[in-house]
């Protein structure tokens, strides 16, 4: 993006260091692409979690240490003993050849964990793999992806290179696959996240070098035994690429903001509150599960039909506020021409509700 925009964004963020995108936040671009507030805050690298707290609406998704422990120990387990369990799994799911067991550790470079060094090395090793075929498993490679003009570092759990000349992203998650089924929302989240990695890999190695089939590794049933399932992420890739190209529009969004707008976390809660209100949000109830700002936006959206759920808004004739809807329904509000149909529908609903409730 152009420098002016970058400048505006830095100014908006203020003193605090920029919070970098990661696979999860990039994936979130597809979650509510219509929300200007989220787009701007993410582009500016504002710490939404802190911000939400400062304005008095803390997000409520803390993580239980039990879940974290479980996640880590499961990944450690499937990778233990030179990927012993993974090798067995991938021999089945990807048809790895018996000779394909080579492994390269990219989590650190000779004790050095700086992102630049790790990325350079990851690049060398991954591009090298296609020529020398030394390694099949690349542990925690560090990839980059251009997100709205910023370089974002991404770190998949594992990338597997197959002798048939394609790389496969391997995602290790600790939610269970029970009788070959898993929580659709969790799988969807894993899929879009993996798609981000696939995209980053493709930008590095070329589209035909990276499979659109990622391998999801989860605990089987109620055991710790891992099971691998291939997931086709073509749809996720379509959406993701579309939203990434749309990020260019961040410039127009930023231009639209009042000059001097600042979300510096050191500002008073009041100022932050006011400043936030200047940036338009697109609140829907399911934001609560997805976005740190949700409770702030929900409070703001109180009295709007959208806060009751998008299908409710639809049922209420797409009218903006609850007051309007009821006003039109009981006739105390005069319908503008473009509200005429909504009004008559709402009046009918009100009449019928009254007659039925009376019965």
């Amino acid at each position: 993006m152009d420098n002016i925009t970058q400048e505006r964004l830095n100014q908006l963020r203020g003193a605090a260091g920029a919070k970098r995108h990661n696979a999860r936040t990039v994936a979130a671009l597809t979650g509510n692409p219509g929300c200007v507030r989220r787009a701007v805050l993410d582009a500016a690298g504002v710490d939404k979690d802190k911000l939400a707290r400062r304005v008095g609406f803390p997000a409520k998704f803390g993580q239980s240490q039990f879940a974290i422990t479980r996640g880590n120990s499961f990944e450690a387990q499937v990778k233990a003993n030179a990927f012993a369990e993974l090798i067995t799994l991938l021999r089945d799911t990807l048809g790895l050849q018996i000779g394909e067991v080579g492994q390269t550790d990219l989590e650190q470079v000779g004790g050095n964990t700086s992102q630049e060094i790790r990325h350079t090395r990851s690049r060398q090793k991954l591009t090298g793999a296609m020529t020398n075929g030394e390694s099949t498993f690349f542990d925690h490679p560090l990839l980059t992806l251009d997100v709205g003009g910023n370089t974002v570092y991404l770190e998949p759990d594992l990338v597997a290179f197959h002798h048939e000349g394609v790389f496969h992203v391997v995602e290790i998650k600790s939610f269970a696959v029970i009788d070959d089924q898993a929580d659709g929302a969790k799988v969807a989240a894993a899929a879009i996240q993996s798609a981000v990695y696939v995209l980053a890999l493709r930008r590095l190695l070329g589209d035909d070098k990276v499979s659109h089939e990622v391998v999801l590794v989860c605990p089987k049933d109620f055991s710790n035994k891992p099971v691998a399932t291939k997931i086709d992420v073509r749809k996720q890739l379509i959406v993701l690429e579309h939203q990434l190209t749309r990020l260019a529009r961040i410039e127009t969004l930023v231009d639209a903001l009042p000059p001097g707008l600042s979300l510096d976390l050191d500002n008073s809660a009041d100022d932050l509150f006011k400043a936030l209100s200047e940036i338009e949000a697109r609140y829907a109830p399911d934001c609560i599960a997805k976005c740190e700002m949700a409770f702030f936006c929900r409070n703001e959206a109180r009295g709007c039909t959208a806060a009751l759920g998008i299908s409710v808004r639809e049922e209420l004739g797409g009218v903006e506020t609850v007051a309007e809807a009821l006003g039109l329904a009981d006739g105390t509000l005069v319908a503008s021409d473009d509200q005429a149909e909504a009004a008559s529908m709402l009046r009918a609903t009100a009449d019928i509700y009254a007659s039925a409730a009376a019965a």
Partner: protein
């Protein structure tokens, strides 16, 4: 969402309290429901942590697993839970009646959990226990696999529209009241009930807001508040694990755990019983009993099956089982939707708004009208005209019925839309006896206030499916019959 519930939500926002979307109760409530509030450990697939269970508000039993990662302790939990559930199941199988020449118990188990996730927990717990072996590797107490079958039975039954065998309280309340918040937020039992039945002097929205503070209202489970996990549960579990067996330290640790978990469960336990009272205040709809009979029959059949030593439910449906189940689910869904509307004007209201039904006044009756019938001879086909202000989007020749006159079908002959009213002309057939002149009362009278709907229960003809062992090639051929394997039993639960 429907137009009615959406409108009611809007009203609720302004009024600060929930609005009715049903005038009658459409779920059955047993005199002694088994209320079950489970908690699970985060990050694990159905690792029970604790539960409060019982049939009486003042006598809950608290079960807990001091170290949920310990497999034996989990099965200990399952065993104690089994004792309670199986006793309850047994108590339901005491009195029988003979209906449609089969033995049907007069009672059936009814399990009430706080929310949809609770139903999911029951399903998983059933799945994780029903294949356990009582001998060989990893043996478990005999009642555990039995528990698994019953929990599985209940959760499968709960997939049927109108079944009350296993209810999520949030859904039970949600089908009778609309709140001023989103359906997503209604999944919080405390919040939902806060809108429907707020404590004195508190408005719905405030009650709902308070319900979101885990310190005031702990989550209704099965997942716990992360802060509780990290700050209280984890240290308590560690204390218990580190303490030597039978040491005073361990006893104390157990007490701490018990106090902490009781504190998380009790509020929801109270909510559950409050919710039950709220629901009991509504008069039950007529067909609630009929549907409960279906639940009882299903229970009786499965009870018999278990007694005869049938195998545990398969992991997944085979092709034929799946097709049959889908058909049954669809049949019960249609039946349920239609009957609910016939029995409850507020439910019917949804059909009136979409124009699939209409309510109005009879303004014209041609009672003795006769037309040539199929085999040449004349048949009685009265014409009536109903004047309505409802949208009434019905195509000509659509068949409709009146809730009050189930035996009789009307066919839309003409719809005449006038500025202030719509005149619907109907040709009636059936419900008039064979007499040339319909006996009085069999045809709607002038000025009668009447509702007609195009959505009414229709007789289903049951499709015969091939027996599983003759599954055709189009569906992968006959499946291997399910036989329990060692894997089932050895599948380590940790």
């Amino acid at each position: 969402m429907t137009a009615i519930s959406s409108y009611a939500r809007a009203r609720a926002v302004v009024a600060g309290r929930a609005f009715s979307i049903a005038t009658r109760r459409h779920v059955h409530l047993s005199d002694t429901p088994l209320v079950f509030v489970p908690l699970a450990m985060a990050g694990e697939a159905s690792a029970p942590l604790a539960a409060m269970i019982g049939t009486q508000p003042d006598k809950p039993t608290l079960l807990l697993v001091p170290q949920p990662r310990n497999r034996d302790l989990r099965f200990g939990f399952a065993a104690s839970l089994a004792d309670i559930v199986l006793d309850y199941v047994h108590s339901c199988s005491q009195r029988v009646e003979i209906s449609a020449n089969e033995q049907v118990f007069l009672d059936a188990p009814q399990l009430l959990v706080p929310n949809a996730a609770g139903v999911g927990f029951v399903k998983l717990l059933g799945r994780s226990t029903r294949y356990r072996r009582t001998t060989g590797p990893y043996p478990v107490p005999p009642q555990v696999p039995l528990l698994g079958r019953w929990l599985t039975h209940l959760s499968e039954r709960s997939e049927f529209a109108g079944s009350s065998a296993l209810l999520a309280m949030t859904s039970a309340l949600g089908m009778h009241w609309a709140t001023g918040q989103s359906a997503l937020e209604d999944a919080n039992l405390a919040a939902l009930l806060g809108w429907i039945d707020p404590p004195d002097g508190v408005t719905g929205p405030d009650a709902a807001l308070a319900a979101e503070d885990p310190l005031i209202w702990p989550p209704a489970g099965p997942s716990t508040d992360p802060a509780f996990d990290n700050e209280i549960l984890a240290p308590a579990i560690r204390a218990w694990t580190d303490a030597a067996t039978d040491s005073p330290k361990r006893h104390r640790a157990l007490n701490t755990l018990e106090r902490a978990l009781r504190g998380q469960l009790e509020p929801t336990w109270q909510l559950m019983w409050r919710a039950i009272d709220v629901l009991r205040r509504l008069p039950a709809a007529d067909s609630v009993d009929t549907r409960w009979t279906t639940d009882r029959r299903d229970f009786s059949r499965y009870h018999q099956y278990v007694t005869d030593g049938g195998l545990p439910q398969a992991r997944r449906d085979g092709a034929v089982a799946a097709a049959r189940k889908l058909r049954n689910l669809e049949r019960e869904q249609d039946l349920y939707d239609a009957t609910r509307a016939l029995e409850d004007p507020l439910v019917m209201a949804n059909y009136r708004i979409t124009g699939a039904a209409f309510q109005g006044t009879v303004v014209q009756v041609d009672r003795d009208r006769r037309v040539p019938g199929g085999k040449g001879r004349a048949v009685t086909r009265p014409l009536i005209v109903v004047s309505t202000t409802d949208p009434a989007h019905l195509a000509i020749s659509t068949k409709v019925q009146a809730p009050t006159r189930s035996g009789q079908t009307g066919t839309i002959v003409q719809i005449d839309r006038q500025p202030d009213t719509t005149l619907v002309t109907l040709e009636l057939s059936g419900g008039m006896t064979a007499a040339k002149v319909p006996p009085p009362g069999t045809v709607p009278e002038m000025d009668e206030h009447i509702t007609y709907t195009s959505a009414y229960p229709e007789s289903f003809r049951k499709v015969e499916l091939p027996p599983p062992d003759q599954t055709p090639w189009t569906h992968g051929g006959p499946p291997k019959p399910y036989t329990p394997t060692n894997d089932d039993a050895q599948e380590v639960w940790e």
